[in-house]
């Protein structure tokens, strides 16, 4: 082949072969199998299984809690990233490394630990319930707590490098031109951070939607109230209801992909809008 004569480096065929076999066996064939399995059902059957009241309730719990947790992570992740980049305090390096704990700690461990903390006998739970009458463990609020834990590093680690990259001159220019600190933040800093924040939010959200290990311990798992879709898939599997499990899995995959795609588009829009404005500002100056 003519192509081959241009390649100085060896190993193209070998790498391609191994990578393709690996990906096919683990990803392509299994996903194809999932789609083929769901195609065995008629559209009406598929629709019936996907839209039972229990399934609907589980989507609401899964996506609702994931959304709430991602919002909390968006707000606090931005603050944590800001504090870690801009301020000095003792133990900062250690705390910075510690932010990655949710990536390293197995989810089952996180699950039982959060449950014992937030149960009505736990350190945090007894005060929340005793003082505020707010039950966390074994309610949807517990699911949100677990998903916040899981998602912490995503927002912090996406926003952090962007804050590091912001040139101080931009802020100084804004304040020289008479902007207050709040104005500088709202008009200069936040627009620059927004695309990264949105990415971190998306990643935290996507992770939260699929999360299982940390949630099942704290959720209480009551059908219609605090049952997440992954758990419903498992309970269908345990009843040997393979088609039911398959349909729910397909629904989850599709919703996740659509959400990720739309948030990506939104982000692309945000990034472009910002860069456009940036040029405008430059022209006016």
């Amino acid at each position: 082949m003519t192509k081959k004569s241009h390649r100085v480096l060896p190993g193209f065929g070998l790498s391609l072969g191994y990578a393709l076999v690996y990906l096919s066996l683990l990803v392509l064939i299994p996903l194809g199998g999932l789609i083929a399995k769901s195609a065995e059902l008629s559209w009406a059957q598929f629709w019936d299984i996907a839209t039972t009241a229990r399934a609907f309730a589980s989507y609401r719990v899964t996506f609702g809690c994931a959304l709430l947790a991602a919002i909390v992570n968006g707000v606090f992740g931005l603050i944590v990233a800001w504090v870690l980049v801009r301020y000095e305090f003792p133990g900062k390096k250690l705390i910075d490394a510690f932010v990655d704990l949710p990536f390293a700690l197995p989810t089952a461990v996180a699950g039982i630990t959060l449950t014992s903390l937030y149960a009505n006998t736990g350190w945090v739970g007894q005060y929340l319930e005793g003082v505020f009458g707010f039950k966390v463990a074994f309610t949807p609020a517990g699911i949100v707590v677990a998903l916040i834990f899981i998602g912490i590093p995503f927002v912090v680690r996406t926003v952090q490098p962007v804050i590091e990259d912001i040139e101080q001159e931009v802020e100084e220019a804004a304040s020289t031109l008479g902007a207050t600190r709040a104005q500088t933040f709202a008009r200069v800093l936040f627009p620059a951070l927004f695309p990264a924040l949105l990415t971190g939010f998306t990643l935290a959200f996507a992770r939260a939607v699929g999360e299982y290990g940390s949630v099942i311990f704290i959720a209480g798992n009551m059908p219609m109230v605090s049952e997440i879709t992954p758990l419903l898939i498992i309970s269908k599997l345990e009843q040997y209801d393979l088609p039911g499990a398959t349909v729910l899995a397909v629904v989850m995959l599709v919703i996740s992909f659509v959400l990720l795609l739309s948030i990506n588009l939104l982000q692309w829009w945000a990034a472009n809008r910002h860069s456009g404005r940036h040029i405008d500002g430059g022209a006016q100056a």
Binding site: L9, L26, F149, Q168, T199, G210, L237, A249, M252
Partner: protein
């Protein structure tokens, strides 16, 4: 530090408020849970703790967890190199599709990942009847758990090596080959030394995930005590039996593993930063968009090691 001289910063009360909010958030959601693991594990003293870890079921769960990681990691390392070699060194049709496929497991729920293999190898699956006829067990046995773990950890090492090798370029390898090095010599003497810290970083992350995976493995394991129970699954069983000390004792082993992972990760990050500093201007962060958020070559190092960041740089690039 230039930051000390900043004129332009928040007023002191706001600085304190933000710091308090950030640290308070991290304390309640990260620090307290980690403390709780050890406090609950030692609630009844050291004796019961040690006893729980000496249980044959706990030991076999630990053994199985290590065995799965040991089987999965070498294959994953090979895949990481194959994928990175293809994507960073050659141009071919379907390259971006390949990149997307590598990221796909990140977007799939672990439970769905487990289900995928049940649909193929399970009793009612495509190959189920054939496997039963030949008395081969994949689901509810070790091979299924290895497959599920392979699926979950698939992106980790490749996502680490690809941006690193892209940033380094292929000049050194081409020089080695044109000077007469064999493919193996080139890999061993040039490619591997260049990426060793990035590789180690990927291995650390993949290993943590492989040993800690719960959802996917839980679906395909069948929870047979002493046979198909990994340490995370053992934690679940004990916890559901109200054996709190046992569950948290096993959990403390996993938490220790997580702490070791964080320390190792910080060490590798520090080494990579040092190496980048020595390379100096050779790898400007802006040169390759992927590398800006990628762990190794970015001079600011430190915090940018995560797939979150990497994905970010990719997305902003689009």
């Amino acid at each position: 530090m230039s930051k000390v001289h900043r004129v332009n910063t928040e007023s002191r009360p706001i600085r304190w408020l933000l710091t308090a909010l950030a640290l308070g958030f991290l304390f309640f959601f990260l620090g307290l849970p980690l403390l709780t693991v050890f406090i609950e594990a030692f609630k009844q003293g050291f004796g019961p703790y040690w006893g729980a870890l000496q249980e044959p079921d706990a030991l076999s769960a630990l053994g199985l967890t290590l065995l799965i990681a040991l089987l999965v990691l070498p294959l994953n390392i090979l895949f990481g190199f194959a994928a990175a070699w293809l994507i960073a060194r050659f141009d071919f049709r379907g390259k971006s599709l390949l990149t997307t496929l590598i990221d796909l497991p990140f977007a799939v729920s672990p439970v769905v990942a487990g289900l995928l293999f049940i649909l193929i190898f399970g009793r009612q699956g495509w190959l189920g009847p054939w496997l039963q006829a030949h008395d081969i067990k994949i689901i509810f046995a070790l091979p299924g758990m290895v497959l599920a773990t392979m699926f979950i950890t698939l992106p980790y090492i490749a996502r680490e090596l690809i941006p690193l090798m892209q940033a380094q370029g292929k000049d050194e390898e081409e020089a080695a080959v044109s000077l007469g090095a064999s493919g193996f010599q080139m890999f061993w003497r040039v490619t591997l030394p260049n990426v060793k810290w990035g590789l180690l970083y990927g291995i650390i992350l993949a290993n943590a995930r492989a040993m800690g995976e719960f959802g996917a493995v839980s679906v395909v394991s069948g929870h047979i005590r002493g046979e198909t129970n990994t340490l995370p699954l053992h934690v679940e069983i004990l916890y559901n039996e109200y054996n709190t000390v046992g569950a948290f004792a096993a959990a403390s082993v996993l938490a220790l593993l997580a702490l070791v992972t964080l320390v190792a990760k910080s060490f590798v990050e520090w080494r990579m930063q040092k190496e980048t500093a020595m390379l100096g201007a050779e790898l400007p962060a802006e040169r390759v968009p992927l590398a800006a958020g990628a762990p190794q070559p970015a001079p600011r190092g430190g915090n940018e090691k995560l797939e979150a960041t990497r994905r970010f740089s990719e997305r902003t690039e689009q």
